[in-house]
């Protein structure tokens, strides 16, 4: 038998550990610290805060989808219930009820975590007995139930108007009154960092690993002594907690929660964020949350059809890039490092240009149709072009770009199949 201290050799070296584990967090912290120094605008802060919340929310979603293999259509329930509890706690702090007077607003996300985990523990108990497609349907039904119930219990949910609070109460922590938006930034940045760190750490716990094992092979897990239902249930509770943490962040950021926060819409959105970002990578949902929050805040101003673009993007990812943005990015760098760099780059650029052409075609089609459908006589005029639904130029342009896009993508695919 070999000397047992040899097991050290199996683990990554100190240098590897630093590069893979410590360094990314140092970089993240540095970015978060540097952002306010650039003197960001109010709009920037608004969008950035939403991103911070969504990053935590999407990562919590991926704890169950990516790591445990549970597809949920109702994850906003835990975000919403955690957030609601936090808004109520905001009120208790303001009125200094009992011990609440001595709790700083800054800690509200912890209350949110608790609320989300409690909701996860209650709802997860019947629903995590099943996995796979059944679980997905159940999550949808349960979400509908909670959403409907929200309108029956006004004292907690506040009816259509929801419940609002005021974050500028209670004890100040770190000298932050949380009044000005630049101070809220530190609050969001802090909790986003904590959230990311916490969820990353979870992947390195026994339960975190077990959840991956259960996703891979639920049967085998039983024969080494684990109850897969219990594994799912525990992961579900913790994921609910982190969703609630994001809810607590949102409670402080917006100072209001309405029943819409736990409807199917945000549940679908978080699924799309995580999946578009790439569920097989830890950072995937972070990418997805940043991109889609940006798209949501920017595009919804420019076009009414933003949900159409969202759906198209999602379907495109499902069909052509199931590993998401993270898969595309990491795949690109891997390809560059690979042996056939030239061929890889050529194929990659061909697909990219092809994709862009198809995107332009889609945009023309959608934007012209939307204006046509509205019937206000408004005309789509990108780059000084006059794209009327009745003009042949419009449809010519649409056909040309789409055709070129399809052609190029097909070419890239044929090339790929030829080389591999």
């Amino acid at each position: 038998m070999t000397d047992t201290t040899d097991f050290q050799n199996l683990a990554p070296s100190a240098g590897q550990k630093f590069r893979q584990r410590t360094l990314p967090f140092l970089i993240l912290a540095a970015i978060l610290l540097a952002i306010p120094m650039t003197g960001p605008s109010r709009t920037f802060y608004t969008v950035a805060h939403q991103m911070g919340i969504n990053v935590v929310f999407a990562l919590s979603y991926n704890m169950i989808l990516g790591k445990a293999g549970l597809l949920s259509f109702g994850h906003a329930v835990y975000f919403g219930l955690g957030g609601y509890l936090a808004v109520h706690a905001m009120g208790w702090i303001e009125e200094e009820i009992g011990l609440w007077g001595s709790i700083p607003m800054f800690f509200l996300p912890i209350i949110g975590f608790f609320g989300g985990a409690l909701a996860g523990a209650t709802i997860g108990w019947p629903s995590t007995r099943r996995a796979g497609t059944t679980f997905a349907m159940i999550s949808l039904g349960v979400a509908e139930l909670i959403f409907a119930a929200a309108f029956m219990f006004d004292s907690f949910f506040g009816g259509e108007q929801g419940i609002s609070g005021d974050r500028m109460n209670g004890i100040e922590l770190f000298g932050l009154s949380l009044g000005p938006i630049a101070e809220v930034y530190w609050f969001i940045a802090f909790w986003m960092f904590v959230g990311i760190l916490g969820m990353w750490a979870f992947t390195r716990t026994p339960l975190g690993r077990l959840s991956e094992a259960t996703r891979d092979n639920a049967q085998r897990v039983q024969f080494i002594g684990y109850n897969p239902q219990r594994v799912r249930y525990m992961v579900f509770i913790i994921a609910g907690g982190f969703a609630g943490l994001a809810g607590g962040m949102a409670a402080v950021n917006y100072e209001i929660f309405t029943p819409d926060a736990l409807s199917l819409l945000p549940s679908g959105f978080v699924l799309i964020m995580a999946y578009v970002g790439g569920i097989t990578y830890f950072v995937g949902p972070i990418f997805g949350a940043i991109l889609l929050t940006y798209m949501q805040s920017m595009l919804s101003d420019f076009t009414e059809a933003w949900l159409l673009y969202l759906g198209a993007l999602f379907i495109g990812i499902v069909m052509f890039a199931p590993r998401g943005l993270a898969g595309i990015i990491f795949g690109f760098f891997d390809g560059l490092r690979g042996a056939e760099r030239g061929a890889f780059l050529k194929g990659w650029i061909t697909s990219l240009v092809g994709g862009l052409f198809m995107l332009i075609g889609l945009i023309i089609l959608v934007e012209v149709s939307v204006r046509w459908s509205n019937g206000y006589g408004e005309i789509y005029e990108p780059f000084g072009l006059h794209l009327d639904h009745a003009s042949p130029l419009t449809w010519l342009l649409f056909l040309a770009t789409t055709g070129a896009g399809i052609g190029l993508t097909a070419l890239a695919n044929r090339h790929k199949e030829g080389t591999t």
């Binding site: 497609t133 949808l140 349960v142 029956m152 639920a218 679908g268 949900l307 159409l308 969202l310 999602f314």
Partner: protein, 310 residues
């Protein structure tokens, strides 16, 4: 008394509509393993197509043509979308149909506008079929029941008596064997998906003018259909049938009960003034399917007629 009679009749017609939807979903699911999230979107398409067709010709043409169109769209979706995603597994397929639901809803909004369209019951059927206790029962509802039963018989005939039905049944119980027997599995999948969607479209034609035809009708119906399928036991047509009727009856009977929780549970001290006490049974009707779902999950996780799974 008349509330009971009407509750029963409406419950049956609504339940049969639910079965039209859930049978298609079940068929697709048990054949292909695909949970079609966009199923209710095809139901919506059925209603809109029927609106367009009956506007330019007649309801009777729409009744036939709209489901066929929806079925063709479904087949195309399978051929050019799902089939591509298939190698990535069932979750990917489910996600594909999830994205599709978004797309269909947005396209419908662009084509038909964001508000409801005026899709009406045809004049020929717009009369009272009979009267009970002074209230009248619309003939169209009766018509729905007739069509649904006709569909039921048609489906039964298709499955039990035709060659295609035998293949489908074989594929249901031994999905891997059918390919070995030399059948064209992709073609079967496309057909089944198309038929399932056509059934949803038919339900849309029938229901769009009873309820409202608007872009939200898919998202309202979708979750209920899923509940039916889970409660019935996933993959079981019989289960889906029973669950459809149970849920249809439950909802329509509850609507007629004008009693609050306080009225019922007053004897244990539930006050009229408390929040729970104020909830009215009739207002609870939309939530009942989901409550039933939770109860089933707790007491019979495999569903009414499903088999146990891990």
């Amino acid at each position: 008394m008349e509330t009971l009679v009407f509750g029963l009749l409406n419950g049956v017609s609504y339940g049969l509509l639910l079965f039209m939807l859930s049978s298609g979903l079940t068929l697709i699911f048990s054949m292909m393993g695909v949970l079609n999230f966009a199923h209710a979107s095809f139901y919506m398409l059925g209603a809109y197509f029927a609106f367009t067709i009956s506007g330019s010709s007649s309801f009777w043409i729409a009744l036939f043509l709209a489901p066929v169109l929806v079925g063709l769209i479904g087949a195309a979706v399978e051929r050019y979308g799902l089939r591509r995603v298939h190698p990535n597994g069932h979750v990917a397929e489910l996600l594909f149909t999830f994205g599709l639901a978004y797309l269909i809803e947005e396209v419908v909004k662009i084509v038909y506008g964001k508000t409801s369209v005026d899709y009406r019951v045809p004049d020929l059927l717009n009369f009272a079929a009979f009267e009970v206790y002074g209230a009248s029962f619309p003939a169209y509802r009766l018509f729905v029941i007739v069509i649904a039963i006709a569909m039921l018989i048609g489906l039964w005939y298709l499955l039990k008596k035709t060659r295609a039905g035998l293949i489908i049944q074989a594929a249901l119980s031994h999905p891997h064997m059918v390919g070995h027997l030399g059948h064209n599995v992709p073609l079967i999948f496309m057909t089944v998906f198309g038929i399932g969607c056509a059934l949803a479209g038919l339900a849309g034609v029938m229901a769009g003018n009873i309820f409202v035809t608007d872009p939200a009708m898919a998202i309202q119906m979708g979750p209920i259909v899923f509940v039916v399928v889970v409660v019935g036991g996933i993959g079981s047509l019989e289960g889906a049938f029973v669950a459809s009727l149970v849920i249809g009856l439950l909802q329509n009977l509850a609507v007629g009960i004008n009693a609050s929780f306080a009225d019922i549970f007053g004897f244990i001290g539930l006050s009229e003034l408390s929040e729970v006490g104020r909830i009215n049974i009739s207002s609870l009707a939309p939530v009942l399917p989901f409550l039933l779902l939770v109860l089933i999950l707790i007491f019979r996780p495999q569903g009414l007629m499903g088999e146990k799974e891990l």
